[in-house]
Symmetry: none
Subunit: 193 residues, 4 copies
Amino acid sequence: MTADQDNHGPAGRPRSEEARQAVLNAVDDLLVEIGYAAMTMKNIAERAQVSRQTVYRWWSTKAEILFEACAEDATDELAIVPSGVTVTDIAAYLSALIEFLSRSPSGIAYRALVGEAQHSKEVAALLATSDILLNSAIEVLEGLTDSSRRTASPETAARLIAPVFYWIFSGKDPKALVATALADIFVNECPAA
Amino acid sequence: MTADQDNHGPAGRPRSEEARQAVLNAVDDLLVEIGYAAMTMKNIAERAQVSRQTVYRWWSTKAEILFEACAEDATDELAIVPSGVTVTDIAAYLSALIEFLSRSPSGIAYRALVGEAQHSKEVAALLATSDILLNSAIEVLEGLTDSSRRTASPETAARLIAPVFYWIFSGKDPKALVATALADIFVNECPAA
Amino acid sequence: MTADQDNHGPAGRPRSEEARQAVLNAVDDLLVEIGYAAMTMKNIAERAQVSRQTVYRWWSTKAEILFEACAEDATDELAIVPSGVTVTDIAAYLSALIEFLSRSPSGIAYRALVGEAQHSKEVAALLATSDILLNSAIEVLEGLTDSSRRTASPETAARLIAPVFYWIFSGKDPKALVATALADIFVNECPAA
Amino acid sequence: MTADQDNHGPAGRPRSEEARQAVLNAVDDLLVEIGYAAMTMKNIAERAQVSRQTVYRWWSTKAEILFEACAEDATDELAIVPSGVTVTDIAAYLSALIEFLSRSPSGIAYRALVGEAQHSKEVAALLATSDILLNSAIEVLEGLTDSSRRTASPETAARLIAPVFYWIFSGKDPKALVATALADIFVNECPAA
DNA sequence: GGCTAATCGAGACGGTACGTCACGTCTTACT
DNA sequence: AGTAAGACGTGACGTACCGTCTCGATTAGCC
């Protein structure tokens, strides 16, 4: 009779992990199929085969669900395998970033959330809890082998992200961007070359 | 069949310019007072003291009204008086841009529209008809006295805008941005100077 | 151009009489088919092929609709053709009253409303606007040829109604009531006989 | 055949009498505080500090609980102490009946139940198991000293109850009723006296 | 003292009606 | 033909209660 283990879980029926996953999957699917604007709490619930009340019990808005659904995917998609060569790594990261923001379901979700955040304090606060993009860039910078010279500061990371971010969020064709942005970066990063 | 009047305008009562202005003003006011999300076609009509039908007759969505309402204001607010000194002009422009996007009613409207455009083809198409930001930057570049060296290309203009755009749309504090962004620009633009 | 006829109706689209009748009919039908308890604003609207909003626009509760639907029917069903013979008229009225309360759709609606009124101030107030039963009895009394002797007072009318009312509302078999109630009345009315 | 103890109660934890009383009390309180319509199985459980499941285990509907809660109270409140004088006893009973139906919590509960019974077979069946009012009247009649003349029949009892029942259930002011009803009864009951 | 079995509390579950809101369309009469 | 007014069908909103279902914990009688 060990004393240290009357770790009573909370009373009552435990939350259904099945329902939670069903909702997160439903949100992912619906985003691709009908888009963010057409998503409603109602059709999320129906798609997940879950009651509307259950959705509201755990999330207040579709933005919250979307954020929970896409946060971890984003981290994976924006990570790169360091090659040891700075230029290669940065190019790979920028490609991944462009791909993420313009094609990936998670990235599209992220864009929708950033869009909402422009006119919603709640969504803005939600996104502020974890700066997915900036963190991914910082991580890449920290993996560079010649990082002795450059500290992986948020400012540097921002310099990496800004052009891609601007082009995509302002609705420009990301294909045309690749060359320009990369050139831009490399000119700035290696002025003496 | 009177002679001097075959200037057949369309038959019937002409469009009420009064109603048009009332709607545009109402949209401006409401954006400040209740925000973009809470704006509806219904309360726009009520605020403008105009019938709902009249609003729908001339605009399809609140985004359209907002775009019409803020487009010209934006042009004014983002214009600068050339000083003849490149650094001064660019600094002035960036200040105006930051002010516009983070404080001005028109700028807040613009941010809301760009936000919507992330998940709405229609709004995206609307914004694509006139790239307000890029045009303003190009105009500034063209006004520079040493523009002989630098062509006022969209790429250069984008380089000017991107950092500000990214910081503000990603929800970062624009105050912290000023120093960083300006420093960034000037280092890049005039490395050899 | 006659001066006295610019009797402007109220502005806007006029109320749809079609919708109104559809709702009243739907309520009548549903009461018989599924009963008062199972009736909801939702299925009333669906049955009437009318939007839920339209139902709410004109009535607050199902009790209100029911009252409007049954009030006039009740008046018809509780009227009798005077025969000139007091005993005959009263017997006819009591039969009609029993039939109304125990079989007629309108009467069943009326019973449901009186039931609700026991625990709802609103419904009680609604019923108080017009005492359907008492009025019908008074009218019968006023039609009697020997009414010179008896004034058609509410008290007398109540004495007529009370036994039937009690038997039916307390759930007793109305068939067994007929003889008893009539005997009761006639003994009371004609003590000297 | 063991003598004194093959009274095997069912295995398992016995029903909590405490919980039963808490529910009945909660129903009484809630009826007075928020009324019948606003009472729900949910807030009954909360008020009784009992789980919802426990309520459902022993009662199906709030009507069942209410009936159990008010039945015995009613019997007490409608009993009178026989005085030996017929007129006095009947007057006392009618006063008690009026008081019960128009003021007493149990009586209000009873009215609510009779109300529900108008459109609910289940509640009607519940009330049919014991005709609280009629029984109370019969008991009074049986206690009369001159009952040699009048058999205490249900019909006579009904004649006593009907006017009060009608006046109160049809929403009329019970104060105005007292004089009328009593006069009515006494004229009818003792015409020759 | 363990076993069995029904109770208790808590609280999540799918379901459904609630009453409100805005949508975009329509039907009036007026200008 | 444009306009204000306002009713219409549609459908999502967020809330409430329904009755059911897990859970762990409790409380009896029986072996």
